[in-house]
């Protein structure tokens, strides 16, 4: 489960201006509740910009979940054993469930699910860029669990304290399930590292390809992240992009050591003074290029998603027709 795209602007973001002016009573009550670290619920009054920010963020998050099913789904039929296949199916099913929790949370803000899906399918709405890279070998599946889900967990734990109640509750549910995702990935890699030289090389190759992309998942540096400050003030975002990225790096370096892989960054070293690892420069031009739709798999992912949705139309129609027929039958029997 994957959240980088959270403060990535999309079309809906353009209308997002906080209009200054005399605060109404409702607005004062809202601000007071936020200041007291209280929670906002669906029926409560909220500023339009807060609502739009949440719809954008939660729907991007939901889209990331269901698009995230695709790169791993590719490996279900190729998993090396029945055990790994069962685990992978369970994980991919979890991601679908996480998408549903999040769409439900976003719907409480008054935006319909069909509207959100239409945004995804037209390319208007964003999802996490990490899924626009291919999964080339079996080790990629392990690395996605270890690093991609690991980065996502870092991001999501503070979201359990988000000021919007339904989002926070969805995140609690998600975080409970997420730990399995990271551990199964790390363990799958451990098994490969105990195998042949060729298997070890596959793991290192996957780590090399994914490491920098995972660091970018935390979003642009704080200095270049205009949405972040407002999100922090509103209690939607609790910890800054750079701070989360640092936490992730500090937690991951020792795990890489145990696994026996190197992280592809010559500048990565412990800084005694800061009490953190220093790291090299992230390629933000590449990141933005992928966000803009030019990554290696953007077109393929979206096309697969749209095809699945369209191919499922007859199922949705049939379920509805069946429900209608059952209802009519009941009415007739009652008469």
């Amino acid at each position: 489960m994957y959240t980088q795209a959270m403060d990535i602007p999309d079309e809906s973001g353009k209308k997002l201006a906080v209009v200054p002016g005399a605060a109404s009573d409702q607005e004062a009550a809202f601000e007071a509740r936020i200041a007291a670290d209280g929670r906002i619920e669906p029926q409560d009054w909220m500023p339009e910009a807060y609502r739009k920010t949440l719809v954008r963020q939660i729907s991007q998050h939901a889209h990331s979940e269901i698009v995230g099913m695709l790169p791993e789904g590719n490996w279900i039929s190729r998993a090396p054993s029945l055990k790994r296949k069962a685990i992978l199916i369970a994980k991919v099913q979890d991601e679908g469930g996480h998408g549903l929790y999040l769409y439900s949370a976003a719907e409480t803000l008054g935006t319909g699910r069909d509207e959100m899906l239409a945004g995804l399918h037209s390319g208007k709405a964003k999802y996490s860029s990490i899924f626009n890279y291919p999964t080339l070998n079996w080790a990629d599946v392990g690395v996605i669990g270890w690093l991609v889900d690991g980065a996502a967990i870092m991001n999501q734990i503070p979201l359990c304290r988000c000021s919007y109640g339904p989002y926070a509750r969805a995140m609690i549910r998600v975080c409970k399930e997420e730990s399995f995702h990271q551990r199964q990935g790390y363990e799958a890699l451990l098994v490969m590292m105990k195998g042949t030289d060729e298997q070890r090389a596959l793991v290192q190759d996957a780590v090399n390809r994914y490491w920098w992309k995972c660091l970018a998942m935390f979003g642009p540096p704080d200095a270049d992240s205009p949405h972040s400050a407002q999100g922090m003030r509103w209690g939607i975002k609790r910890i800054s992009n750079d701070e989360l990225r640092q936490k992730f790096i500090d937690a991951t370096v020792p795990q890489a050591k145990v696994l026996g892989v190197t992280l592809p960054d010559p500048d990565l070293k412990w800084n005694e003074e800061r009490g953190h690892y220093d790291y090299g420069q992230i390629d933000w031009a590449e990141f933005w290029n992928t966000v803009e739709g030019n990554g290696p798999c953007n077109k393929e992912r979206l096309a697969t998603r749209v095809k699945a949705h369209n191919d499922g139309q007859w199922v949705r129609d049939a379920a509805l027709a069946y429900a209608r027929k059952q209802k009519e039958r009941q009415v007739k029997e009652a008469a």
């Binding site: 029926q43 008054g110 949705r316 429900a323």
Partner: protein, 99 residues
């Protein structure tokens, strides 16, 4: 939970799960489904993948009547000054022990 239009015509359902025998059903989320049977089926897949429940209720969201947040003061504030409804309001001599 929501008044948003559902996925074309699939209505919204609220899901309540009893985590174990003897405990109450607790609200755990919502989903879209064509009918009650499908809602139950989907609730099982979505909300009980890790033995979270032994029983599920699904209720059409439209069937729920909720109190209006604007009435919160009127409805709930009167209870605030009735502290005599709580056992701690009463001072009992210590020698009486636990009561």
């Amino acid at each position: 939970m929501s008044t948003a239009p559902a996925l074309k015509d699939w209505p919204l359902w609220e899901v309540f799960v009893r985590s174990k025998q003897g405990l109450e059903h607790k609200h755990c989320g919502s989903l879209h489904a064509a009918d009650a049977a499908q809602a139950l089926h989907m609730a099982r897949d979505v909300y009980t993948r890790r033995q979270e429940g032994v029983s599920i209720w699904v209720v059409p969201s439209a069937a729920i009547t909720a109190s209006n947040p604007d009435d919160k003061g009127e409805l709930f504030d009167p209870a605030a000054d009735k502290i005599y409804r709580h056992p701690t309001f009463y001072e009992i001599p210590e020698e009486v022990g636990h009561m």
